[in-house]
Symmetry: C2
């Protein structure tokens, strides 16, 4: 069964969609960031799908992972080669059903996909911010999204849904705006990065910053630190797959040859895959955004920000009727099930109605981006229950 076959069966495409953007916090009223610095104006790229109902109660915000963007579903033009990054989840009759829900997908501050980030023009200088861009946090990203949600005239979101770093934004949404979310769905996420995750991020950042083209971030009028960014992406890609999926996908198979070449060219299929992933990524992502966003992920810690060191105490802020669906994947070693369970336990300790689903999958962390009956039906059913306003 190919992924495409699978997706086709489960619903229709949202069709053509239009990229949108929203700008706010223009000086003299810039956004005050968690670091104490200010940023403005701030632009967020976003897309919407479906129709907001009359009482504005059917809005679902989808937030994305580290290198994602606002284009979650559909195509921008008829000849787009690929649809949005979670097209399998968002569309008519799909789990996040655009016949029923008004779906918003927002990009993040600090990114490079149409939102204000280090590659944007610094109004003070007329040049790209580069590393003069202030450090942004996941809290800042979510507060910017809240301004977008205000702009769309939505007081309360029916749900906030996201995987990986999206799942961390989901948690921040619930903590920063407990009155504005009826439900949350953090997927393949942790409340905060483990030492191992920080370590992988740090090596990626070092690879970028040690690239001579990085030039302290001021490379926009020259060569980008493509080598460093490719290395960072290759490292990250290993963490997105499971040992099992790498074995199945590549094993020790050689790339277009029957015997070793005894040189440093591509010998194994897994090498070819990683080199390709690195090379493809540098065409679509800005190295400085990679630095800022990974840093924001590593900084994020709701226990210190909201709970005096305790996740249970942090979740005391939630309204008791907030509904939660937490999803993890058995072979995800970047955000293992144990870390999802930590979230679940802290929610349950506060009496928050929480459903936990550990999905059997061999695809590692990437599993949340791939078709999966269990994940899809769980999210479909959860949103339907929230929409009905059913309580346990």
């Amino acid at each position: 069964m190919s992924i495409d076959d699978d997706v086709e069966i489960r619903g229709q495409s949202v069709g053509l969609v239009e990229p949108q953007s929203f700008t706010f916090a223009a000086p003299p009223e810039p956004m005050l960031l968690e670091s104490g610095e200010t940023l403005g104006p701030v632009t967020l790229a976003y897309e919407t799908y479906g129709r907001l109902n009359d009482d504005r109660s059917n809005a679902v915000l989808v937030v994305h992972a580290l290198t994602g963007d606002a284009h979650v579903a559909g195509r921008h033009s008829d000849d787009d080669r690929k649809p949005g990054w979670w097209d399998l989840m968002v569309g008519p009759a799909k789990p996040i059903d655009t016949d029923k829900y008004f779906v918003i997908c927002s990009n993040i501050v600090g990114g490079c996909k149409g939102s204000t980030g280090p590659g944007s023009t610094n109004p003070a200088t007329g040049k790209p911010y580069a590393t003069d861009f202030p450090m942004v946090t996941l809290g800042d990203m979510v507060r910017a999204q809240a301004a977008l949600v205000d702009h769309l005239g939505i007081e309360r979101l029916m749900s906030v849904v996201g995987g990986s770093m999206g799942g961390m934004q989901v948690i921040e949404w619930a903590l920063a705006y407990p009155d504005r979310v009826a439900s949350i769905v953090p997927i393949a996420a942790a409340a905060r990065q483990s030492a191992q995750n920080i370590a992988f991020d740090e090596v990626g950042r070092q690879a970028i910053m040690k690239d001579p083209n990085w030039n302290d971030g001021h490379y926009y009028d020259g060569q980008a630190p493509a080598s460093g960014l490719a290395i960072a992406r290759m490292i990250a890609h290993i963490t997105y797959l499971s040992e099992h999926s790498m074995r199945e996908k590549f094993g020790r198979r050689l790339q277009d040859k029957d015997a070793y070449g005894y040189d440093f060219g591509t010998e194994f299929q897994v090498e070819s895959y990683l080199r390709y992933q690195g090379d493809a990524f540098i065409k679509r992502f800005d190295a400085n955004s990679y630095l800022y966003i990974t840093r924001a992920m590593d900084y994020y810690d709701p226990t210190t920000r909201y709970g005096g060191g305790s996740l249970v105490a942090a979740f005391e802020r939630l309204r008791p009727e907030t509904r939660v669906l937490v999803i993890s994947f058995t072979s995800d070693w970047l955000y293992p099930t144990a870390e999802s369970k930590e979230i679940v336990r802290a929610l349950k300790a506060n009496g928050i109605p929480t459903t936990f689903l550990e999905v059997p999958s061999n695809y590692g962390h990437d599993a949340f981006l791939l078709p999966n009956d269990l994940m899809e039906s769980a999210i479909r059913g959860f949103l339907a229950a929230v929409a009905k306003g059913g309580r346990r």
Copy 2:
């Protein structure tokens, strides 16, 4: 209990030791390599400890991991800050007891610790080989060690012991020279690298080769690709630790600060650790050797070389009385227990007397280098049994 305290209790140091070297395969009779190329002369750095007995039956060869060297125990001078890399295992009354055994530790061809490698002078040009150095395999490394063992007048080794890549050399020793090993002890190893291991190695190699100072390997009269090598080492270090040990050792603790600096300097302790590991490594290792040795590890596959694709068939070469002790560590995710068990199953399928020990440890792959009662007593007991010539 500190590691030093622990080591002191279990035996004495071998004291001062003398680095030695052995040169062979001088042209016109160079060594024919697995790749079909030739290399000569070949120098191997080695050290010996203890005394060869009269019937030359008490020799134990210790082989080292990726970045190790021939200096396994003792000190080179009284003011040496640290002893050899496995001092806890090798010495009088230690598990590999130099009062009983004649211990040899050999460096490898391709390395940079006194043996012929890419940094050595190419006799054809008078300059360092750099990437004109021929590709060497684990088979080549072991054949060079066999020449050293010949030179020492030893027909048959009582045991060959090694961890990580050393464990792979141990396996190659048994397969290439089944009549010359009475026993083998592969520790924290696999018969061949998994796709994930090849992937980590490949990212490290790419980091080196994308460093502009690498210059296709010809950097010996200029700047070494220190940035790339540091990145490679940082990646590798993450794989040597377990998630658990990183959590215990660093968690999310900040480095010498109470609050985030909101910059790209060192924020977390784990970042400081990795940066230190990277910086320390570039002072003691040659980037080209890192390329050649990781390539050799990735190439190594006894199933194709000796077994027509089957590890069981490969081990048919072993003499039925060869004794084997296989050791793995519970938290080692680089060479997980499942891969050790594959070795054990293939040996047992051939009726080879094999003892398997999975040592409980939270230290990840690095565990084999750290004090561990269970590992130490197992190796001590195993070698004593082999020395007695006892059969099951």
